[in-house]
Subunit: 445 residues, 2 copies
Amino acid sequence: MSGTKQILALNRFGGGDTAGFNARLQERLALRQATFGAASVLFYEQPIEMVRGNGVYLYDATGNQYLDMYNNVPSVGHCHPHVVSAIAAQAARLNVHTRYLSQPVEDYAVRLLSHFPAPLTNLAMTCTGSESNDLAMRIATAVTGARGFIVTRSAYHGNTAAVTAISPSSLSSASSTSAAPHVRIIPAPAAAPAVGGDVANLFAQSVSAAIADLQAAGIGFAGLVVDSIFSSDGIFADPAGFLAPTLALVHGAGGLFIADEVQPGFGRTGVMWGFERHGITPDIVTLGKPMGNGFPMGGVITRPEFLARFCQETGYFNTFGGNPVAAAAGDAVLDVIAEEGLIENAASTGALLKQGLEELQGEFACIGGVRGAGLFIGLDFNDSATGAPDQPMASRVINALKENFILIGAAGLYGHTLKIRPPLCFTPNHAGQFVETLRQVLRAA
Amino acid sequence: MSGTKQILALNRFGGGDTAGFNARLQERLALRQATFGAASVLFYEQPIEMVRGNGVYLYDATGNQYLDMYNNVPSVGHCHPHVVSAIAAQAARLNVHTRYLSQPVEDYAVRLLSHFPAPLTNLAMTCTGSESNDLAMRIATAVTGARGFIVTRSAYHGNTAAVTAISPSSLSSASSTSAAPHVRIIPAPAAAPAVGGDVANLFAQSVSAAIADLQAAGIGFAGLVVDSIFSSDGIFADPAGFLAPTLALVHGAGGLFIADEVQPGFGRTGVMWGFERHGITPDIVTLGKPMGNGFPMGGVITRPEFLARFCQETGYFNTFGGNPVAAAAGDAVLDVIAEEGLIENAASTGALLKQGLEELQGEFACIGGVRGAGLFIGLDFNDSATGAPDQPMASRVINALKENFILIGAAGLYGHTLKIRPPLCFTPNHAGQFVETLRQVLRAA
């Protein structure tokens, strides 16, 4: 197993003995397993039944309060009242598709697009990040006439058939090491400290070789799809700007640069979009998870001429995509990001958090690296003698943090990277609490 | 152009002169076009800006009230207060993914599955009908080891890359007559009156030939995907049971029968599911549009062993799919269907409506056929001399009905079929109003 599958194996209910669980949990778990069947995947050896969310906190059925450092969907905070009331008000007023005009939809489209650089002036609204990436691939194929895509080794871009083919982290190891014929898998970016300033050139060289390989195979090069914070690969943010030479290379080869902003978008990294940190303008930007703070919505942002080229073939209509309730949710999210200064908070609280984690790195030899931007930080566990990725350590820490009522996950090819990604309303106090709890957990480990 | 593209051409804003529109409409239209670009598709030569919905009615920005006979998403009525309050309450309480347990999700899964026959006991929750059909195709491929799918001539099954390939109505005519290598396109079912009782055998023969062709090509047969009311093909409901021989044939060839219930599901045809009318149990059932009355949600229902086989390869996780707010919306929809007797109403009011339309057929030679089940009826316009499909007549009627504040669309390969599909809370009075308005429109035509 690789990537996501491997990581989940660290940290999931394996279907084993439930005799130690309380009666309520046994009952609910049995219902979930009976209905979701083999597709039921639950975090932790003893799953948690959640009953309430508020800000950075989730509450379980037995009354425990958890600090949520994992779930990046409710990015402005669980059940944010401004978003909830916007959804409730619009759902009571009008919910219809985009073949009629409706003010919330046009206004949201204008507002969202105002956050993008000039050539990116068109928006297609979808319901999920998966639908966004699926559409982006189709646009890239229509524009370039080519079929080949390049992605990183542990990338995750969604769950449709087309997008699963460019999500090596979703595939079994047999599949992921022998990708679909139109997909080339390149290594994740190097960790900046390990290779000095050469991250940009090393990554560009990998992309260049993959483009040449696609062209030699007669498949052609449609696009490079990257999550600009490389979430599933283990979080690679530095040095800011390292994707710039790759953008030039992609354009030189006639392909499109598709920035998957489902993870880094909407302020997560201390700027509005992950690609901003790299000083680049992608050809297509895909949006999802935090866009509606949990209301199912996504989007594809691109140049008008690219969307027009695609629409010559098939056009695009999405029944639920761009409904006015989604627009109201998305608009409320933009309100909260602006009014509560969440981008600035991601930058400042993220910097504090990173500093605290770097101090821990000085204290504990098991911490092999701390990387990230804003409120998205990866912390590696490595064997202090050999430097080898230490997945069992990550697993122990994740479970110990759960015992301390902190929810967190792992990332990366080896699953040894703690994925630190709290809601953007995370405060310096929360950051201090997390660092101190992690310190206690590591001392006890 | 074919199918959907052709039909939309009847009935869409073509980007022409807007000088005759009021200032507000011009302004809103300009915003839509500037932001949605080439993907902006709006109904009617003069688009409508909607501001409010209630029950069977939509209201535009100038205060007009429209009877909605088109939009089958808000199936229990626009902005139904029970559904709205369920969404609002749950959004304020908890919105999280399915890697935690949450009571609304398990309870909804149990309740929804109780509406399916015994072997169909597993549910995978998605966000859209497109995601549902995309997943169904992947399950069928995993189970059968084959790649070939069979669909009807003007089928529409969604908008992802994989699902667009099995949606001939979405493709340009060049593409739809030369389908993707793994897709075989068969004619829609015959209209029952035209071929007597032979609908079942004619359809089965088409499927049989397509299976043989896929097998001869070495592609193999994964599944037949049918919308059991054949919405985009022009609505073919009779005789009930005509799909039964095809089911046997599909199983005999080792393929799966995938019932796309995005259109007929949730009571539309006077029974809970379209496949029920045919007395069959599909292998996979896909759900979408009316499931949450506009809240973006979908689902795939199948046998546990099929889902398990699929999960051996990749598993399935959908970030927004199966969130507790969706579950609350879906649960409220099931409440309303039961409490307001909407299935019975679809049957009884649908029968009244059909009877009224059949009376019109006796009065107007331009009506070539009336077909349907429950509150889903197709009415053909044909040249009274030659019998040829009369698309321009359908277009004139649709636009004249709009002038009379009734919203309705067309379907079928030739776009000559009026697609009559009001919310399920449609009353006998509404049916009478529609028939009488259509009578006046046809007299004036």
